[in-house]
């Protein structure tokens, strides 16, 4: 580890991020600006999440990194190697064994427990951005709780598609106050945000914002009375483990139209297969 501070970031930067995190935990769902640092990877690869993980990681912590639910995809592998190298921490693929889980686009299927920390990589932290391009205006809208436009988006979905067609980054209201973009997780995972015993931290590297959902915080997905919030469902079960309650990926297996549906959470799938065998 010569030439690097523990977990790459210098201690001053970590302190700055800790302060921002404390504020974020104190005001659930509120976007706290922080002085984002250059990381040795491009924006869009999870620089926000990596900075949060680097700040909170302790020497005895066990780290798990997932990308779209899988432990073995490029993003997950490279970030795991990064922390092995700059922090020398133990890593795992088992959700239950991990203290810190950095994730892109999924919340693990295995229920999290108190004491665990889930770190999300966030591309666009501002849920109002699609309709209001001005940052000054969106901050004012958050401050004054002017959230009518969020329903304009959902209304537009129903008008165009007959149902709420937003399937990921589905807006939520945290603790009855701030409307928050839960990062591009599928709306299948939204119910897991509600009252979760784990601490959830969100980091956006390019936009230099972080926010948090403290443990056991009520999180509600926005909807209409006559078009209530619904999660995705599949007609299939996982082709490998047979689960009928996990988020499934469609995998093309040949060029003759062959396909199969498998769990996107690889650890969950493997654990179940181990249990069956």
């Amino acid at each position: 580890m010569d030439g690097y501070n523990f977990a790459y970031l210098d201690e001053q930067t970590k302190r700055m991020i800790h302060r921002a995190l404390l504020k974020a935990v104190a005001i659930p769902g509120y976007q706290v600006p922080f002085g984002g640092r250059e990381m040795p990877m491009p924006y869009g690869w999870g620089t926000g999440g990596v900075q949060l993980t680097a700040s909170i990681l302790g020497a005895d912590d066990i780290l798990k990194v997932i990308d779209q639910g899988a432990d073995d995809t490029t993003n997950a592998v490279s970030i795991r190697h990064f922390f092995q190298r700059v922090a020398g921490v133990e890593t795992t693929t088992a959700t239950t064994a991990a203290d810190v889980i950095q994730t892109r686009h999924r919340i693990p299927e295995t229920p999290l427990r108190a004491g665990q920390i889930l770190v999300f990589q966030v591309p666009i932290p501002e849920p109002l951005r699609f309709i209001e391009p001005s940052e000054q205006e969106t901050r004012l809208m958050h401050a004054l709780e002017e959230y009518g436009v969020m329903h304009v988006k959902l209304y537009e979905d129903i008008a165009r598609y007959g149902h709420i067609a937003t399937t990921y980054a589905y807006p939520v209201k945290v603790d009855g106050r701030y409307v928050m973009d839960p990062s591009p997780i599928p709306k299948f995972d939204n119910p897991k945000l509600d009252g979760n015993p784990a601490l959830m931290l969100f980091g956006a590297g390019r936009e230099k914002r972080l926010y948090a959902i403290p443990p056991y915080t009520p999180v509600e997905s926005l909807d209409f009375e006559d078009h209530p919030f619904e999660i995705q469902r599949w007609e299939h079960s996982c082709a490998l483990c047979g689960s009928d309650r996990s988020y499934l990926d469609e995998v093309i297996t040949d060029d003759k139209g062959g396909r199969m549906f498998v769990c996107s959470d690889t650890d969950y799938c493997q654990t179940r297969r181990g249990d069956v065998a």
């Binding site: 209409f224 006559d226 078009h227």
Partner: protein, 286 residues
């Protein structure tokens, strides 16, 4: 037959408003009262300070001096009008008690809530007042959703009813405003503004940029709506024909100051100030 009320309560009390960007640029020492159910026209040439005054009145720009007092009638509490007590909960009791609100003393949060719930603003260019990226129905429903309406079917029914009211085809509720003509966009903007039944509406050249036949139908529709809904309107226009059709009372502005006020027909038929005389005589077809 019931006699109409003689005394209409004062809705807007404008006291000595000054907003200057430079000498004679803006508006200076404007003083007037707007009564409930009244349509006040502000006329004058370009650069006379009409639009500046409107922006100050509508809560968009703080004046250098003076006050804008908005008087709620005490027998009509806000919550009953808008159908939701949710937004103002907590402050409700206090707010109903104080019937007079000083627009620039109440703080931004309440000023914006007022603009959203009880007032309306119709821009000259419908593109400033509409969300061009979302459908007509979403545009009409936005203010209702901001008030807390969460029933898609009802929002849609209200949207279609309002499209009929402003003479738009309700079948086009899912079309984007950009596919509408200029006149139709203006109708849509009016529907979007009036859907929450505001008490006071500000209009900045609502018929500007439209051709004459479209203007005539829009004016006709506006006149009907103003009467049906009992709106109070502050109307800024440079077109005396529009003022004659819509306004009960006129204020003539020049170089940021009011040069003459009076009933519309009185001003247009018997102008006293030389500038008003010039203005009236320069109209080709009065």
């Amino acid at each position: 037959m019931k006699k109409p009320a003689q005394e209409y309560p004062v809705l807007l009390d404008v006291q000595d408003i000054t907003r200057l960007y430079g000498p004679a640029k803006g508006c200076e020492a404007i003083d007037f009262r707007l009564h409930a159910g009244e349509v006040l026209g502000i006329v004058g040439e370009s650069g006379s300070g009409k639009s500046t005054l409107l922006r100050v009145l509508a809560g968009l720009e703080a004046p250098d001096a003076g006050r804008v007092i908005y008087r709620r009638s005490s027998n009509e509490p806000e919550a009953a009008r808008t159908g939701t007590g949710k937004h103002e909960s907590g402050g409700d009791q206090k707010e109903n008690a104080e019937a007079a609100l000083d627009l620039y003393a109440i703080g931004e949060a309440r000023r914006r809530a007022l603009l959203r719930l009880e007032w309306g603003l119709v821009h000259q260019n419908p593109r400033d007042g509409l969300r061009m990226g979302v459908s007509a129905g979403a545009n009409i429903g936005e203010r209702l959703m901001a008030q807390g309406q969460r029933h898609y079917g009802q929002l849609r029914a209200t949207g279609q009813a309002w499209m009929r009211q402003v003479e738009l085809d309700p079948g086009r509720i899912d079309d984007a405003p950009r596919t509408f003509s200029g006149g139709m966009q203006q109708r849509l903007q009016i529907a979007r503004t009036l859907v929450t039944r505001p008490r006071l509406v500000f209009m900045d050249e609502p018929t500007g940029g439209l051709d004459v036949s479209v203007q005539a139908r829009l004016l006709d529709m506006l006149r009907t709506l103003v009467r049906q809904l009992g709106l109070s309107v502050v109307l800024v226009t440079h077109d005396l024909a529009v003022a004659r059709l819509l306004a009960h009372r006129l204020m003539v502005m020049r170089h940021g100051q009011v040069v003459e006020t009076g009933l519309t027909d009185q001003i247009l038929d018997d102008p006293q100030h030389e500038y008003t005389q010039l203005l009236v005589s320069s109209v080709l077809t009065p």
